[in-house]
Amino acid sequence: MTELSPAPGRLTATDIAVARGGRPVFAGLSLSLGPGEALRLAGPNGGGKSTVLRVIADLLTPLKGAVRWNGTATSEDPSAHSRRIAYLGHADALKSALTARENAETMLSVAGRNNGAALDRAFDLLDLQRLSDLPAGWLSAGQRRRVALARVVASGAPLWLLDEPTVGLDAASVSALERAIAGHRAAGGMVIAATHIALDLGPGDATLDPGAFSWTTDVFGEALV
């Protein structure tokens, strides 16, 4: 298994409120996740699942509330927080001109995480070795998703943030992803996945629906009608 670096810790978010483009998304959302734990973000489209992931990744600053790692606000040292995270967005972040392998390598080396052996294992796990020398522009949507997942699996970051990781994946790849998640959790890693299909995150996973945390007051504390 890939050694996790930095070490896993406890992620907490308390009383988070977010508005995007002046429209309230959710308020009063709290969560807590320790080493080896997994959290599923569920709920309908537009419920704020991706927004929760972006807040935890510090890509989006909440109006209210704070995200903490072992009790320290992540905004105090954004670079250190970034190094704890492997993020899979809804876009795959692949360059058509680079091969599958080069895509994963360049992004991992930008994050200071390029580890050939770990990447080999991730490519084996997701059945990508056959495709590794093909330009990403030639790959199908599901194959591109697997390359993006391989980057997360090979990163060795303790916290995986997965935004709809199963989009475009076939059944075999979904079970490969489930094995990867199980292995990551067994090594003490943490997973937060936004998904509305039945992805097995392993035993003891919690579920959170951001849509249930609607705004009851406006940003100035006035009650909404």
């Binding site: 360059k95 680079l98 360049t106 994050a111």
Partner: protein, 221 residues
């Protein structure tokens, strides 16, 4: 390899694979400069008089074509989020992007400009000054372009918008560069002009990445 160098290496590798992007920018530079002798006819004195301005204005316009490469693609394919989560501060990310942009746009123009100057009948004393102004000025173009490109990430018609934001900011660079070349053609001292260009560059290296970093944070939000 440090993350900073890794970003530069990544952009250089992408530029090499998508070589047509750079080739088109440079071809624009060459073609537009070549239009002037054709349009003005056989008037060597007039060409020599306008050569510094033609070379510099065309270099600026050609550079405008290249700024959408900086962040637009990364923003569309999700790469910008990955870069932002690399642990590299956004301002250093912007500086790395500017360095890669200069290596793939400013540096080739620096090499091409003296060759094009021949077709414009530039005074023979002014060639080294032309190269010196480009060496000091094109990094400023890349740095300001990074700020402009970061400001318009995600905007419609971003390429035109960047040009409208960045070109007015580059007027001082244009003035000092062209006056330096004209002074050299006339056999006058060029030191003052080059010192001003150097001062602009020295101020831009720390300040432009800070501004671009702040703009990128807004773009991600």
């Amino acid at each position: 390899m440090s993350p900073f160098l890794a970003v530069i290496a990544r952009d250089l590798r992408l530029a090499r694979r998508q070589g047509t992007d750079i080739a088109m920018t440079l071809a624009f530079f060459v073609v537009v400069v070549a239009l002037f002798p054709l349009g003005l006819g056989p008037t060597p004195e007039l060409l020599a008089r306008i050569a510094p301005a033609v070379l510099w204005v065309t270099a600026l316009l050609a550079a405008m074509l290249s700024f959408d490469r900086l962040f637009q693609q990364d923003s569309e394919d999700g790469g910008l989020e990955q870069l932002a989560l690399s642990g590299l501060p956004l301002s250093l990310l912007a500086l790395a992007k500017a360095v890669a942009h200069w290596l793939t746009t400013g540096l080739p123009m620096l090499v091409l400009a003296p060759l094009l100057a021949v077709s414009l009948n530039l005074a023979s004393d002014a060639y080294w000054t032309l190269v010196a102004t480009l060496a000091l000025g094109t990094p400023v173009v890349s740095l300001f372009g990074t700020v402009g490109a970061a400001l318009v990430v995600g905007a419609r018609r971003a390429g035109v918008l960047v040009a409208l934001i960045v070109l007015p900011l580059l007027i001082p660079v244009l003035i000092f560069a062209v006056s330096a070349i004209e002074a050299a053609s006339a056999g006058l001292t060029i030191r003052v002009h080059l010192l001003f260009l150097g001062a602009i560059l020295a101020a831009s290296i720390p300040l432009a990445p800070l501004a671009a970093g702040a703009a990128l944070r807004q773009a991600l939000d």
